[in-house]
C-alpha cells in the first residue's frame, strides 16, 4: 500500500515533526519505497542526533554513501558540529601562522557558538537544495530534518538572509560570519524559490496520535505555510490498530489515539493524511522499514505463550519513580532538571516529581523552558508547597529587547535605535534572554527544590552553550582567582543539580539519550538518573502486539540498566493519560506501581 504523500512526489521531500515521532523511520521507508520503484534517491539527515547510519547498519557521515542493501539509495548525514568545524577552518586556516596564536585561539572560540553552527549547516544544505554539486543525478532528495524549532530556523534563514543581502547591510547581528558570502547570494535566492515551489518541494508533517505531537505539527504547519511552504502532507505514525482481545491497556491506548485522530485541529484536516499502523518490531533494518507502510499485524509471534507467562511489571534492577523521589527528598532542596528528546514525556515526569516532593511538605518550584510547554494542562490543579511558572522564550526575549533598548539605547537617535532594534532581532537574542531567565532559577535551588521541565535537546544544549560562554566570559573578566559562582558551576555541582534523562524503551530514543548524556559529560555535567517512560514491559498487558513491543523493550531497558545509568526508574504505560494531580500522584506513589486491574 502506497501512502498518498509518495504519490506524484516532487524532487525534494522534507519531513518535520516533534523529536521521537519517527521522522527517520518514515524518511528511510520512503527512500526504500522510491528506490524499489527504480528511482535514484539521496537521503539527507540534518539532525544533530542523526541515526540513519544505525537504521541501515552502515557508517555514513558527511559523504554521500551508497546503501548496499537498497540499490539506487544513497545517504548523507550533515553533522552540524562537523560542518561548523569545516567552516571555522575555512576562515581560520588562511591566517594561522600569520596572526599570533592567542588571537587565532580567540577567533576559534568566537566561531564555536550557535550562530556558526546554524550558518555552517545551512551552507551544506543550500548546495543540495539548489541541485548543485553532489545532489545532481538523484531523482529525489529526502531530508530527514532536525526537530521542529531547529528546522524552522533553518528554513527561515534563506528568506531573512536574502533580505539581509539585498539591503546590503553587511554588518548586522549574528550574520556577521556571513560577511563575504555575497557571491553565494544567487544560491540562497534559489534555495528560497525551491522551498516555496510545490513542483519541486513537498513537506510532510510527521506526528504520533498524541495531543502534544499533533499540536506541534499544527504550529509548524502555520509557521511554514506563512513562509511560503504550502505543499504540506500529514503522516500519523505508530497508530494502535483496533484490538480484538478485550485487553484493557490495548483498548485504552486504541481509544485514546482514535479520539486524538478524530479531533485533529481544523487547519490540519484539509491536508492529505496517511495513518501508519503501530508495528511490533523496531524500525531498524531494511526488512522492518520495508513494512512500515503495510497494515499492522496483531498476531502473536510463535512461542508467544511462553512470553506472556513471564513475570511482568517493573523489570528487575530498575527503580520506581517513587524510589527516585525518596532519594531526592533527603536533601530538602536542589535543582532537578528533566532532560531528553521531545515526546518522551519530560513534562509528565517533571510534574510527577514536583507533586511528590511537594506532598512530602517540601517547598517546590516547577518551571519549564520548553516553548511548547503544557505544564498547566498536565497539572490541572494546585498543590500546597508547589509554585508553578514558565520561562516563555517569547516573553523573555521581548523583556530583554526592551531592557537593552531602554538602557543601552537611551542615548541614541532614531536611526541608531532602529539599527539596535534590527540587531536585537537576531536569533542569538532569544538564547541570551532565555539563558538569563534560566540563570535565576538555577540559583533558587539553594533554598528549595526547583524542578525544570527543559526544552527539547537541541535547544537545551544551546542553552548550556550560552551558560558555558558566559562562564568563560566571567572567568576572563574576573581572573581565575576571583570569588564567584556561575550558573555553569551550579549545573556541574552534583549536590546542587541533579539531571534526570527521560527516554522511552525504544532503540532511537535510548540512542538519543546516550548522545545527550555524552554531550552533558563534555560540559562537565554528570546525569544523576535515567527514567524510562511509557514502558509496555512494565505493564501486565496480554495483547499480542503490545507483548511484542514489550519484548523489544527488554533489550533496551537491560542496556540502560547495565551500562548507561547510575540509577534508573521505569514508568509503565498507563491506561489513562497522567493528567491532573491525582494521576501524577499515582505515578510517583510510594510502594509498587499498581498494576492495571
Amino acid at each position: 500500500m502506497e501512502p498518498s504523500f509518495l504519490t506524484g512526489l516532487p524532487r525534494y521531500l522534507f519531513l518535520t515533526g516533534k523529536g521521537g515521532v519517527g521522522k527517520t523511520s518514515v524518511a528511510c521507508a520512503s527512500a526504500i519505497a522510491l528506490a524499489r520503484r527504480g528511482r535514484s534517491v539521496l537521503l539527507v539527515s540534518t539532525d544533530p542526533a542523526s541515526n540513519v547510519g544505525q537504521v541501515f547498519g552502515v557508517g555514513i557521515g558527511n559523504t554521500i554513501t551508497p546503501i548496499g542493501a537498497v540499490p539506487g539509495l544513497a545517504a548523507l548525514e550533515i553533522n552540524p558540529e562537523q560542518a561548523a568545524e569545516a567552516y571555522r577552518e575555512r576562515i581560520v586556516g588562511p591566517v594561522r601562522g600569520l596572526l599570533p596564536a592567542a588571537e587565532v585561539h580567540l577567533i576559534e572560540e568566537q566561531l564555536s557558538g550557535a550562530c556558526t553552527t546554524e550558518i555552517a549547516s545551512f551552507n551544506e544544505f543550500t548546495g543540495l537544495l539548489t541541485g548543485e554539486e553532489s545532489a545532481a543525478g538523484f531523482d529525489h532528495v529526502i531530508f530527514d530534518t532536525a526537530p521542529t524549532g531547529h528546522t524552522i530556523r533553518l528554513l527561515q534563514l534563506p528568506g531573512s538572509w536574502t533580505d539581509f543581502l539585498n539591503e546590503g547591510k553587511g554588518d548586522a547581528s549574528c550574520l556577521g560570519p556571513l560577511a563575504g558570502l555575497e557571491r553565494q547570494r544567487s544560491v540562497y535566492a534559489e534555495a528560497v524559490a525551491a522551498l516555496g515551489d510545490p513542483e519541486r518541494t513537498r513537506l510532510v508533517l510527521v506526528t504520533r496520535p498524541q495531543r502534544a505531537a499533533v499540536e506541534e505539527i499544527e504550529r509548524t504547519h502555520a509557521e511554514l505555510a506563512a513562509l511560503g511552504l504550502r505543499e504540506q502532507y500529514v503522516v500519523v505514525n505508530a497508530v494502535m490498530p483496533r484490538p480484538d482481545d478485550g485487553d484493557e491497556l490495548a483498548t485504552a491506548v486504541y481509544r485514546r489515539e482514535q479520539s486524538v485522530l478524530g479531533d485533529l485541529p481544523a487547519v490540519l484536516r484539509p491536508l492529505p493524511t496517511d495513518v501508519l499502523d503501530l508495528k511490533g518490531e523496531n524500525m531498524v533494518g531494511v526488512d522492518a522499514l520495508g513494512s512500515l507502510f503495510e497494515a499492522g499485524d496483531m498476531a502473536a509471534l510463535p512461542g508467544e505463550d511462553a512470553m506472556s507467562s513471564r513475570p511482568v511489571g517493573i523489570p528487575a534492577g530498575a527503580d520506581t519513580l517513587a524510589g527516585l523521589v525518596d532519594q531526592l527528598a533527603v536533601q530538602e532542596h536542589g535543582l532537578i532538571m528533566v532532560m531528553g528528546k521531545g515526546g518522551v514525556g519530560k513534562t509528565t515526569i517533571a510534574a510527577a516529581i514536583a507533586v511528590a516532593l511537594a506532598e512530602r511538605g517540601l517547598p517546590v518550584h516547577l518551571t519549564t523552558t520548553d516553548p511548547a510547554a503544557h505544564l498547566s494542562e498536565t497539572l490541572a490543579g494546585t498543590v500546597a508547597n508547589l509554585e508553578v511558572s514558565r520561562i516563555d522564550p517569547r516573553v523573555e526575549t521581548e523583556r530583554y529587547r526592551q531592557s537593552v533598548l531602554r538602557v543601552k539605547g537611551a542615548s541614541l537617535d532614531d536611526v541608531g535605535r532602529a539599527s539596535l532594534e534590527e540587531d536585537l532581532r537576531s536569533p542569538c537574542t532569544e538564547e541570551i534572554a532565555v539563558f538569563q531567565a534560566f540563570s535565576k532559577v538555577v540559583n533558587e535551588g539553594k533554598r528549595r527544590f526547583v524542578v525544570i521541565d527543559t526544552a527539547p535537546t537541541g535547544h537545551t544544549l544551546l542553552l548550556l552553550d550560552a551558560t558555558g560562554s558566559y562562564h568563560r566570559d566571567v572567568v576572563r573578566q574576573m581572573g581565575e582567582s576571583g570569588r564567584f559562582i556561575t550558573p555553569m558551576m551550579r549545573l556541574q555541582d552534583r549536590d546542587h543539580t541533579k539531571v534526570i534523562l527521560a527516554t522511552l524503551a525504544e532503540a532511537t530514543p535510548v540512542l538519543e539519550a546516550e548522545e545527550l548524556q555524552a554531550d552533558l559529560r563534555r560540559a562537565g555535567i554528570e546525569p544523576w538518573a535515567w527514567v524510562i517512560n511509557n514502558s509496555v514491559a512494565a505493564t501486565t498487558t496480554s495483547n499480542p502486539l503490545l507483548r511484542r513491543r514489550a519484548g523489544n523493550e527488554l533489550g533496551e531497558i537491560a542496556r540502560v540498566l547495565a551500562a548507561e545509568s547510575e540509577r534508573c526508574a521505569v514508568v509503565p504505560l498507563l491506561t489513562r493519560e497522567p493528567v491532573g494531580i491525582a494521576a501524577l500522584r499515582a505515578l510517583a506513589a510510594p510502594g509498587p506501581v499498581p498494576a492495571p486491574a
Binding site: 591566517v95 600569520l98 550562530c115 541614541l412 541608531g416 540587531d423 535565576k440
Partner: protein
C-alpha cells in the same frame, strides 16, 4: 574622500547583543557607523572572528596585533594610516576624518546610561 576602516575584536555580532552583556560603546559605535554610511561616506568595519584575512593584509594592523594582541583593538585606519587604537571613535571624530558636517543632534541630551543592566541580572554570579 577619505576611507575609514575599523578593525574590531573577535565578536559574534556587531553590537554585542549576542554576548552576556551589551557593551554601550558598541551600541553607540554601530549607530555612528550607520550614520556615516548613511551620509554616503566610505567606511567599513572588520570583525576579527569573521574576516581575519583583512587584518593580515594591513601591515599596520598586523603589527599592532603582534605587539599588543587583540587587547589593542579596535584599530582605526584612515586612508591606511593608524588614526586611533584601543577605543571606538566618536561621531565627531568620524565626521572630522570624512569631512562630513558634524551631526548637531546626534545624542539625546539626558542619557540615562548610568542605570546599565548588569550581566548578572540578579543571578548572584558577581
Amino acid at each position: 574622500m577619505s576611507t575609514i576602516e575599523v578593525f574590531e575584536p573577535a565578536m559574534c555580532c556587531s553590537t554585542g547583543v549576542c554576548g552576556p552583556d551589551v557593551p554601550q560603546e558598541l551600541v553607540d559605535f554601530s549607530a555612528d557607523f550607520d550614520w556615516v554610511r548613511g551620509q554616503g561616506r566610505d567606511i567599513a568595519r572588520f570583525n576579527l572572528a569573521s574576516e581575519p584575512a583583512a587584518f593580515v593584509t594591513r601591515p599596520p594592523v598586523l603589527q599592532i596585533l603582534e605587539v599588543s594582541g587583540s587587547a589593542a583593538l579596535p584599530v582605526v585606519l584612515v586612508d591606511g594610516v593608524v588614526a586611533m587604537a584601543g577605543r571606538y571613535p566618536t561621531r565627531e571624530e568620524l565626521s572630522h576624518w570624512v569631512g562630513a558636517v558634524p551631526e548637531p543632534a546626534g545624542r539625546a541630551p539626558l542619557a540615562m546610561a548610568a542605570a546599565a543592566s548588569s550581566c548578572c541580572g540578579g543571578a548572584g554570579c558577581c
